[in-house]
Symmetry: D2
Subunit: 294 residues, 4 copies
């Protein structure tokens, strides 16, 4: 879930409420806040606390709330984890500390030190493009021996990696294996994964929910149709900007055009200026008819 | 400067005092705390505050103290900057926010937003291996128009980049251009740079101070001799461990063997175990005669 | 297809015949020689000519033969292409020239210059890990306007890229879109691709042929079973060696143990020594019961 | 040295003669043909043979001629080496085979197999950006035990690597250690290297020869002046195009404007079009006054 902001270090409180309701109305099965798309690492800690508390209050148990605690400082991860438990969140999500990259043995030891400090169960978050280091399948296999680690979100975009993790699931039938990049949502389901944690679901929650359902049902024709729409979102909307931040900017811009929330971005990023905003408007106009009847 | 730790989230206070005195006795011209070698991003904010205050008190104006404020969250950088000013530090050091990489135009705008919030002048810190994005020379050129940005530490290891920045110095004759990787300290001086910010100076401060002086004086024979020692430190000591953290672990281990400070590492890293510690001991035994007469 | 060698610059002629018959007996729908797994770029040109002629004679029209003409020198690509046509091959395969990487506009112009010189239709070969540059989807779209370009083999391992190319297929319904990495064969079929060009089919041709058939038929249970075997081949066999050459060495070693062909490797690679050979033997012993009834 | 071409697979014979004389008149101490800047891997083998023969005849012993034999196919490297010896060349230059990257043990074994087949002594060519694999210092140390390997050209741009190789020179006082990137020519000399193999010496041979001489003489003021000119060439001329081929295109374009040789490029590259040519002309006009009095 995006983090609606109204200014530097200021939550767009009304926008947050509308965004939560928009996503829940679209049928999402959970919310992951303070992840990459949620600009988690860019937010001050007081703001993170406020977001956790408000989101949990708004959701009020309708779906699970997962909170990102990825941090370079161990103590700060634990602090955010405690806020999450106090606010009533359901689980935590942690990628590797992302400044100086650790080796696999160190990563595993890190998890073994972290989990006992956490008041809630933990999802691993594999995001090597941004953390420089992946959770290797051998490390994931060892992490499965820790019962309070309950799943993994893979944002590597590497389907071979995803297959390798899926091949480990018999060791932990209770695990949830989730796909980050939305273009690979059906691939993930076919490979034995359980769902997606997809940025596009902020904007078009039904599209991703129904694509997931179609893939689970093995309805290949409907998968093709819905996946083509997902590809269009990626090929059009996320290409308005350059840089890895383009996805967040595009989604915030589109949601702002739809009146859901403000498109303010946390530093060092800036919202789209008017020319990009115009292009987003045109793209939305083109996508809406396609997505109306989903 | 390394951050001596005695336990998770606990400063080695006596070790910090000995380390500061060891480095000042070796003649260093300044101290940079909370950088990469100082495990800055791995430390909790309260610990960072304590380190800043204690270091400034210990140094007590004998040399300038520079404080790293690199962060993914703007507000947290500003918070650490204010603590630094309150404690009497002399300058701040910022690398690009290091989670989601920004484009160059965004980096420049980030600096333009950051500098007015800072109570002290700022050094840029170019560290692309860890921040994923460099300050391009064009961006540095623009940053030179901001009078409160007063220098750059380049840890890219890319001498062509260093030459390109050096070629911009006529625009800001007051700037300090400093070299990160210690193997390139004489190269930096010959290229028009002003000095080094070298991890090895925690252990052998005189070696780096005198190498810098020899290079400035154009004493090529002495540069060759001292540089060969610096290469030995790198080839032997920093190769005890693997991973980018090996440099920090080796230095902490060596300083612990010398009785200067504890070798506890912040998560997700761990101090060397006994076999590596034995090798560090042997290497130190081999290096000491070489370095005795410097 | 692997290139069986008996010595430096010497074809294992009897091994080649056995390998071709082994693969055809396994039901493969075509043979691609002089690709990456075929050590194409490592072979002298006279050896490449001999391989093309012998393979075409052995196959004798039973399946199409595709010949890799990837080269850094334009004239050498054309030379190999002519040998291929003279020998009766069916199509050519070209990755980008792989020394100094070209830009996309240059790649497209290169294709536009190359195709008219070729006596046979051409497949593109996307292999960015080895050629440093991919055929971007926009470039592939333009290449589709050239009727003598008839398909693409994607060895990027990037399923999002594969989906993007699959989305272009309506422009050329006659194109064949093929998957390189064998772990992604079912994903490729589900994504609208047509098949695989998989190294493992040298050893276990039936496994890959039947996995492809199961995926086309939408028989998900059988896909799961067969894909698990493919993952086992990758997790066990291809991990005997290190380096990107491990796949070729493992396959050659296994085929040598089965009496199909020699495991000599072209420079700068060397066949497995006895310890690795023992491990390959054990792995084969473990895999054979699984694969017996496919 | 660039390879002047008049058309696809056709040498610009008159241009080659003028280029050789231009460079020798500028005082270069040797010529390296069929390297990266010489588009070696892009040329057909007959053309390579012709270039070797013509260059050796033109030079006629006035300076040593070094010939690049880098190839993915062992037998082709040996073939070019024999042509070189027959034509009277002085030494050979080989980078690692550049398609499938080899491990360090394999690289060393490759050299041990290659050297006995070569009729001339060999320089190693470290060019990891294009060959994907470097000659690690440990591998270079072992290669020094082979008396017919007589030096190394480092085009990594990594001065720490260069220092590490320089530290090995006491094992082979007869070795020549040469720098590829021209911006690092003085750094190389100060680090104990012997000279440069710099593309810019095709255009301004005197500039590089004199910069090398000034650095050897320790004349720092003159080094600063000349190095600033070298930086200007890089910052202006080589930035006219994009892509790694820009250096070659710019140099060929400039030499064509000066009437030295044609600017035809081997596939997949194309000479600059008119707008870039205009910019090169302007840059040359700006550089000439600076370089007149060198």
């Amino acid at each position: 879930m995006l983090t609606p902001l109204s200014d530097r270090d200021a939550l767009d409180v009304a926008g947050l409420e509308r965004l939560v309701e928009h996503m829940l109305a679209g049928g999402v099965h959970g919310l992951f806040i303070l992840g990459t798309t949620g600009e988690g690492p860019s937010l001050s800690y007081p703001l993170r606390k406020e977001l956790i508390e408000r989101t949990c209050r708004l959701v009020n148990g309708r779906v699970p709330v997962l909170v990102g605690i990825t941090d370079t400082a161990f103590a700060e991860s634990v602090k955010v984890a405690r806020w999450s438990a106090d606010a009533g969140a359901d689980a935590l999500v942690a990628a590797p500390p992302y400044y100086l990259p650790a080796g696999q043995a160190e990563l595993l030891e890190y998890l073994q030190h972290l989990v006992p400090e956490l008041p809630l169960p933990l999802f691993l978050y594999n995001m090597p493009a941004l953390t420089k280091v992946a959770f290797d399948p051998e490390t994931v296999r060892c992490a499965m021996d820790e019962p309070r680690i309950i799943g993994l979100k893979d944002s590597s975009g590497n389907m071979t990696y995803f297959h390798r993790i899926a091949a480990l699931l018999p060791h932990r039938p209770d695990w949830a294996l989730l796909m980050g990049p939305e273009e690979l949502l059906p691939d993930a389901i076919f490979a034995g994964g359980h769902g997606g944690v997809n940025g596009g679901a902020n904007l078009f929650p039904k599209l991703y929910v129904q694509l997931c359902a179609a893939a689970r049902a093995g309805d290949m024709a409907r998968v093709r149709t819905l996946h083509a729409h997902v590809m269009s979102v990626g090929e059009q909307l996320y290409r308005v900007g350059r840089h890895p931040s383009a996805l967040i900017k595009s989604l915030k811009c589109a949601l702002s055009l739809l009146g859901v929330c403000d498109d303010f971005m946390a530093e060092p990023f800036q919202r789209f200026r008017e020319p990009e905003r115009q292009r987003v408007r045109q793209i939305l106009d083109g996508l809406h008819p396609l997505l109306r009847d989903i």
